[in-house]
């Protein structure tokens, strides 16, 4: 599912990198947002809001604990956005 060339994943990486204030290439698919990129709960909510805005999708905040890294975030967004 998560190939490097996937345009949606690339866009998610851009959004997450902006919120976490790192360069997109520094953000690995399984680097933990909290432990490795110092994200707090406010950053997590911001990430969710930016994703919702960009992809015009509603994602409940109950999914936040599942969005621990880029790949997990992709899976959550894919579920609600209907990406196959």
């Amino acid at each position: 599912m998560t190939q490097v060339t996937n345009p949606q994943l690339a866009e998610l990486r851009e959004i997450a990198a902006e919120v976490l204030e790192v360069e997109p290439e520094e953000l690995t698919e399984t680097g933990l947002f909290g432990e490795e990129y110092d994200a707090d709960s406010l950053r997590a909510i911001e990430l969710l809001a930016r994703i919702e805005k960009r992809f015009k999708v509603d994602i409940p905040q109950t999914e936040l604990p599942n969005m621990i890294h880029l790949r997990a975030t992709y899976d959550v967004v894919a579920k609600y956005a209907g990406w196959s």
């Binding site: 406010l42 950053r43 909510i45 911001e46 930016r50 409940p60």
Partner: protein, 171 residues
């Protein structure tokens, strides 16, 4: 619609000296707002400054952003009234085009970009006269519903709190 200072205080929990919006000129619910903030030499940020020439009397950018963000919060909270404490989350794509000095009147224009489940994103500009002094591409705020923000002089948040205080319809 226009909001006077009393109406602003019914919506925002901020108080002196950190309430940084004076008057709302126009408000289009859920969409856009235009508000004024007058900067004076008696602001606390200038206390203790002597007759320093130069940048000492530039209005601090942090307060400029806070004033713009409070304008966005007014638009958001007016459009979706409820309990909770608005928290500033982040600002990105900020550009400063000019400086602000005592005597200037800031005119903030803010558009709501996205609202969902206790979060809001908005962007805006600040003008002094016909000069743009600040552009904010994106600001992010959240509502913490578990903190009661209502100060003593705010009426019950049950129901629309503005009905009897809106002053005309300028939009």
């Amino acid at each position: 619609m226009m909001l006077d200072h009393a109406a602003i205080r019914r919506i925002l929990p901020h108080r002196h000296p950190m309430l940084l919006v004076d008057r709302v000129l126009t408000l289009e619910s859920g969409a856009r707002i235009e508000a004024l903030k007058a900067v004076t030499g008696s602001e606390p940020c200038y206390a203790g400054l002597d007759a320093v020439d130069g940048p000492g009397f530039d209005y601090p950018v942090s307060l400029l952003l806070e004033s713009l963000a409070q304008t966005g919060a007014l638009l958001w909270l007016h459009s979706a009234p409820g309990n909770g404490f608005p928290l500033f989350g982040s600002a990105s794509d900020i550009r400063l085009h000019g400086r602000v000095r005592p005597g200037d009147v800031l005119r903030h224009l803010v558009r709501l970009q996205h609202v969902n489940a206790g979060t809001a994103m908005f962007g805006g500009e600040t003008w002094v006269g016909d000069s743009r002094v600040l552009t904010a591409g994106s600001m992010f705020a959240v509502i913490r519903p578990d903190i009661d923000s209502r100060p003593g002089d705010r009426p019950s948040a049950a129901g629309p709190i503005l009905d009897s205080h809106e002053t005309g319809d300028a939009t």
